[in-house]
Symmetry: C2
């Protein structure tokens, strides 16, 4: 299912009151929790290109632009990618997306197929990158859990035989059966 916001019909832009609502930079920024400066900067470094410009050169963003920006923000905030890495992940997807519209009318099947395959490859790379990052995170969580268990074993040690043991690192591996107080 889609994840698009149902935005109010009230468009502050040139109301061509039809298919695609176009938003100005401030609206997009507020909507996504970005600053206008950031959005302009992303454009400056080639991460996106607004769908259109008004007569007076105002940037006008469509649904896809917003979606793309949301993705960028996610990659930056949640995944912690640099803008350069994000650029790699997005590559020239914008151009490709535009191409998709162009080739929708194409009757050359193999060409259409090639375009879609290309997009698929790119998405697969995106997923692989994210997955890789998630795996490393999982590993770190595992390590943290290990440290946690280690501490729990110390607690168990305290609660049972309370004498201050000689205590040097590395407790016996037999201490694995520590009751789980509360995890996660």
């Amino acid at each position: 299912m889609s994840h698009l916001d149902a935005l109010p019909a009230d468009a502050t832009t040139t109301d061509q009151a039809d298919s695609r609502p176009l938003l100005r930079i401030q609206e997009v920024a507020a909507m996504l929790g970005l600053t206008t400066r950031s959005i302009r900067y992303y454009e400056e470094v080639g991460l996106l290109e607004p769908a259109a410009r008004s007569e007076g050169a105002y940037r006008l963003f469509d649904e896809d632009d917003v979606e793309r920006l949301r993705f960028i923000k996610g990659l930056r905030d949640d995944a912690g990618f640099s803008l350069a890495e994000i650029g790699q992940l997005l590559e020239d997807e914008a151009a490709r997306t535009r191409n998709r519209a162009r080739f929708r009318t194409s009757r050359d099947v193999s060409e259409r197929r090639a375009i879609i395959d290309d997009a698929l490859d790119r998405i697969d790379r995106q997923i692989a990158s994210l997955q890789e990052k998630q795996d490393r995170l999982a590993e770190m969580i595992g390590e943290a859990r290990g440290r946690r268990d280690h501490l729990l074993s110390h607690i168990a040690e305290l609660e049972s035989g309370v004498e201050p043991a000689p205590h040097e690192h590395a407790s016996p591996a037999a201490k694995r059966t520590v009751g789980r107080a509360r995890a996660r």
Copy 2:
């Protein structure tokens, strides 16, 4: 020549008869894939404090320091936390580590218990942070998979309505190694 005063019998660079080996900054750096500058910087911003200094003020790192640095690197590279956030996660764990020395000598069980409980809380917060980040990553992966499926449906659409394409593509779930070295 500097003043040679009463000096604790050890004061060694490479391990002597001492139980724990102390490493110099370059060794630690090479070992972890960090630069010496980074390590000094982390100390500068309060992320760690080397276990000791040599007589000539060389930084000397023990196992715990290395472990801590490895954790910091993970939080930075894999989880994408800023050094400020890492500082939050590590809090004044350094001071707590010093407390552990007191802990070892303390015979007061409730005090020992308190120290451990505190450490446990901190680790739980670390895990929660990592978990949260992992959840958001999972969400992003889900969205990417959604886009992928969408594309696949387009492919199916193409394949059903036309004659077979001359050459085929790689299998759908081919896991391609996107082995990119991280910059910096």
